[in-house]
């Protein structure tokens, strides 16, 4: 890996953008969270577990997770037409797959947990920010979870692997160009989501997975802190 590679915002190759995470941002919801990575801001709200409607979609053997990812029309330079597009539908499903493994859904027959994710401002990595926010919101809602899920986009710019791409980096044009590799992991290092667009050989892709593991550990700590900060134990400061 080239050590001299300079990122346009001066970050080290394994350095996250400035992150901010907070829970309780939507008081109406059973759980909610905001996750900001640089100029990408996602909020997520959880409603449930509650009875599944419509009734014919109920599953008597287990509860279900429904995710809805949406970008606000003004979250990017060129306005997005409001409503469902194929990209949003796919990311909604990807998000569900990323989170489902940590939930004890078999404890909630006939029920559903709804997760709504909205991207307020986008500067790449929106699906990862959305998953990080959703994982936090589920924990904040008190939904029993085996683990947290943390998500990061690893990128390859020409030949160098970096973490947490910005939009500017996603549009990198030199050499082999950009490769975007969003990955989500549980804290014990299991991959619950992975995608890739670009060009990379198998050996370097293995390195990218290891790099994601390191980044997800950092995000996990940030998520844990956000949850702890929200708890008022009622004790006096000593």
């Amino acid at each position: 890996m080239s050590e001299k590679f300079k990122r346009s915002d001066g970050r080290a190759i394994d350095e996250l953008r400035p992150v901010e995470a907070r829970v309780g941002v939507v008081p109406n919801a059973d759980g909610s969270a905001m996750y900001r990575s640089g100029d990408t801001i996602a909020i997520a709200a959880v409603y449930g577990p509650k009875k599944m409607h419509p009734q014919h979609q109920q599953d008597p053997s287990r509860g279900q997770l429904r995710c809805d990812y949406n970008m606000l029309s003004f979250s990017v330079s060129e306005r997005i037409k409001p409503g469902k597009n194929r990209r949003a539908m796919e990311i909604s499903e990807i998000t569900k797959w990323a989170l489902e493994p940590v939930l004890l859904l078999d404890k909630y027959p006939n029920q559903v947990i709804d997760v709504f994710i909205d991207i307020i401002q986008a500067d790449a990595g929106t699906r990862c920010a959305g998953i990080n926010a959703a994982s936090l919101a589920l924990a904040h809602a008190g939904v029993p979870m085996k683990n947290m899920v943390s998500s990061i986009a690893v990128g390859k710019l020409d030949k160098t692997l970096v973490v947490d791409l910005t939009k500017e980096e996603e549009d990198y044009e030199e050499g082999e160009g950009p490769t975007d590799i969003p990955i989500s992991m549980t804290h014990d290092g299991k991959i619950t989501h992975m995608q890739l667009d670009g060009k990379i050989n198998a050996e370097q892709l293995k390195e990218a997975v290891d790099l994601a593991k390191g980044a997800c550990e950092k995000i996990y700590e940030i998520q844990k802190k956000a949850l702890k900060d929200a708890v008022d134990f009622g004790g006096e400061e000593k």
């Binding site: 194929r86 990209r87 796919e90 499903e93 299991k190 667009d197 670009g198 198998a202 892709l205």
Partner: protein, 269 residues
């Protein structure tokens, strides 16, 4: 979704225990692909079309071209649109109506594999910068679903592109003269992108599942290999994977894609 139409559990248990011993019902090994056959020109009105069979799985894929306005962020490049439909005719499981998620994902994953590998040289499909470019439509239809529509779709797409001819275009009237094909091929790079989906069934990793096997798949990772590199990847379904398992999948896809590539080249000769 519909629990009634899935592989019955006793059969499922048998399939899993066979896989543990490295065997499959049809005699293949875990990383064995069924025979691939490609028939060309299944529809004369398309600029290029093929029928692809992988065992009993069958898709038809057509390429159509039209002249349109380029996207603002790529004024000198042609456009690519890939869509997939799971026809009700091809399985009891598919219903009429707006596309379900499976069909949307099939189209999008196929699209990204072709787009990211830069197989189509889109900059050569520019007629007048910022005003007129060719749009390449690739439409995939299932005819019989016996598993692995995903890999069949990409094979069909590249084969149809390989044989497609660009129609004549009357610059003055701005009309595409369909039916009058030029001698011009769709500009393609030399190396074909090959999609390989690796499925996790029980503790086994397999490729090219039959419908019965695919029902038991808890996780699918589709990789598009191209020129010794991976140009797209999508992990589908909820089952989590160990890091080492994922790394093994990269190697499996590379190995299997080389075999498929050879078979496609033989088919297209």
């Amino acid at each position: 979704m519909d629990k009634v139409m899935t592989t019955p559990e006793p059969t499922g248990e048998r399939i899993r225990s066979y896989l543990k011993d490295g065997k499959r019902f049809d005699g293949r090994n875990l990383l064995g692909f069924r025979r691939i056959t490609i028939d060309k020109d299944v529809s004369k009105k398309a600029e290029g079309s093929v029928r692809v069979k992988i065992g009993k799985t069958e898709v038809v894929v057509g390429v159509k071209l039209d002249v349109s306005v380029p996207y603002a962020d790529s004024p000198n490049k042609g456009n690519l649109m890939v869509t997939a439909e799971m026809l009700p005719l091809s399985s009891q499981r598919f219903e009429s109506g707006p596309p379900k998620f499976d069909a949307i994902e099939l189209g999008r994953v196929t699209d990204r594999g072709i787009r990211e590998s830069k197989f189509i040289e889109l900059e050569k499909l520019c007629i007048k910068e910022g005003e007129k470019v060719w749009t390449v439509f690739i439409d995939v239809y299932s005819i019989n679903d016996d598993g692995n529509l995903m890999d069949a779709a990409t094979i069909g797409a590249i084969a149809a592109l390989k044989i497609a001819k660009i129609p004549k275009y009357d610059e003055e009237s701005g009309k595409v003269l369909y039916g009058e094909l030029s001698e011009m091929d769709v500009p393609l790079s030399d190396s074909m992108p090959i999609a390989v989906s690796v499925h996790k069934v029980g503790d086994s990793l397999i490729v090219d599942p039959t419908r019965q096997e695919e029902d038991l798949s808890e996780c699918r990772v589709t990789l598009t290999n191209h020129d010794g590199a991976i140009s797209s990847l999508q992990k589908s379904e909820s089952k989590e994977l160990e890091i080492e398992e994922m790394k093994k999948i990269f190697d499996i896809s590379e190995e299997v894609s080389r075999k498929i590539l050879k078979e496609i080249e033989n088919n297209l000769k």
